[in-house]
Amino acid sequence: MIFVENVSKSFVLHNQGAAEIPVMQGASLRVAAGECVSLVGASGAGKSTLMRMIYGNYLTASGRIMVGDLDVASAPPREIIRLRRETLGYVSQFLRVVPRVSTLDVVAEPLLSTGTARDDAMAQAEALLRRLNIPKRLWALSPTTFSGGEQQRVNIARGFAFPYPALLLDEPTASLDPTNRATVLAMIEEAKARGAALIGIFHDHAARDAVCDRQLDVTQFTPGLAA
């Protein structure tokens, strides 16, 4: 489902001396449907960078990133937008939302934008929020004022609302209590069971070992660090 082949990336900080800083070289990765692969490696090794490249959030300098049959590394914005709507989900570390939009709407949005009827989308969003223990009194409020852990759970609810065939998770269990953490791990298992391909970054080793089938150490792709 996800096939990354020989990709590289560097940053040029024009306003800080314009030096070219290579951060990734020869990165390759393959994730099949129903599989969860975790990205590991020291801080700064490039885990989030690789994930952002797969999502099209960072540009890729060379190589291919196939998600389904689209090469994200070379696709025009319009096709990446469609891929994100229909195929590729991403639970980022931080929730970013339009102010004033209710939590329920934030969670239902991925369903509404793929054509689910409003009542149905709302019912599914409610079920997810309930499952993740977001108190009902918060559903009508914007999540912008929620606690870190609450925002994280809203972000997860939103990310799991639509059954994406491919899903990227950046620290999905950070800042969660044991009960909610167990719920999120169960949701990951369910996504695998329905055939989703997942890539995750987990600093929580126990969580990683519980749901991931394999690990990929990105340090081997970090220029200047490769063994």
Partner: protein, 256 residues
């Protein structure tokens, strides 16, 4: 898929000064594109050329017309272009007073656009005006007031209602949230986003505010000195900017 708008090699000069030049892009149905750049970079010039308010010196602006498909709006007849301006296009000005009739009631402002497209029956027009005012959260009891009695945010919402009542397919917006305080901006953004989705609108939004484009635009175009210097997915341009100027622009705001 046919683009809704196809811009090719567009240029506009003011004497020797560049307004904007070498602008090319396609906009597809349902897409929202943001245009950012410093003051004087040519954003309003470009938007006005696209909307038929200014005549470019070079290039083509093809719009997917209902009757004839893609057609260059620069070379079409004036009446035809005006008709587009009243039906398929909408233009939301930065200052609501430039887009409203200040001496006509709120209901009249909305109804007038409907009459311009040959809606005739008074009852229908009034009902539709009330419906639209409701959608932009202006209550029915204020329908007979003039916009001068409204706050800035209300005026802006009225301008949006006036523009969208005829069911346009393409909306041009020049700093639609400029000059409004932050909570009013948030309300307006929320409104714009839901309208864009419900009506499957395409929109081109000029703004200084990177937080606004982050939330509203799918794609982003960065302008400097009349040139387009960078384009891409909005979050990609903001999180992984390639050009020196874009990096400066992104790093000079606190957090978007």
């Amino acid at each position: 898929m046919t683009p809704l708008l196809q811009v090719e090699n567009l240029a506009k000069f003011y004497g020797h000064r560049i307004g904007c030049t070498d602008v090319s892009f396609d906009l597809f149905p349902g897409e929202v594109m943001g245009i950012v750049g410093e003051s004087g970079s040519g954003k309003s010039t470009l938007l006005n050329c696209l909307a038929g308010h200014l005549t470019p010196d070079r290039g083509a602006v093809r719009f997917d017309t209902r009757a004839e498909g893609l057609k260059d709006t620069i070379t079409m007849s004036e009446p035809e272009r005006r008709m587009l301006g009243r039906t398929d296009w909408a233009f939301v000005h930065q200052h609501a007073r430039d887009g409203l009739r200040m001496n006509v009631s709120a209901g009249g402002n909305v109804g007038e656009r409907l009459m311009a497209v040959n809606a005739r029956h008074y009852g229908n027009i009034r009902a539709e005006a009330i419906d639209w005012l409701g959608r932009v959260e202006i209550t029915q009891d204020r329908i007979d007031e003039r916009p001068t009695a409204f706050s800035g945010g209300m005026q802006q919402r009225l301008q949006i209602a006036r523009n969208l009542v005829t069911g346009p397919r393409l909306v041009f917006m020049d700093e639609p949230t400029g000059g409004l305080d932050v909570s009013v901006q948030a309300r307006l953004l929320d409104l714009l986003r839901s309208l864009v989705r419900e009506m499957n609108l395409s929109a081109i939004i000029v703004t200084h505010d990177l937080a606004v484009v982050r939330l509203l635009a799918d794609r982003l175009m960065v302008m400097k000195d009349g040139h387009v210097i960078e384009t891409g997915l909005t979050d990609q341009v903001l999180d992984d900017p390639q050009q020196a100027y874009t990096q400066l622009l992104v790093s000079s705001v606190l957090q978007v």
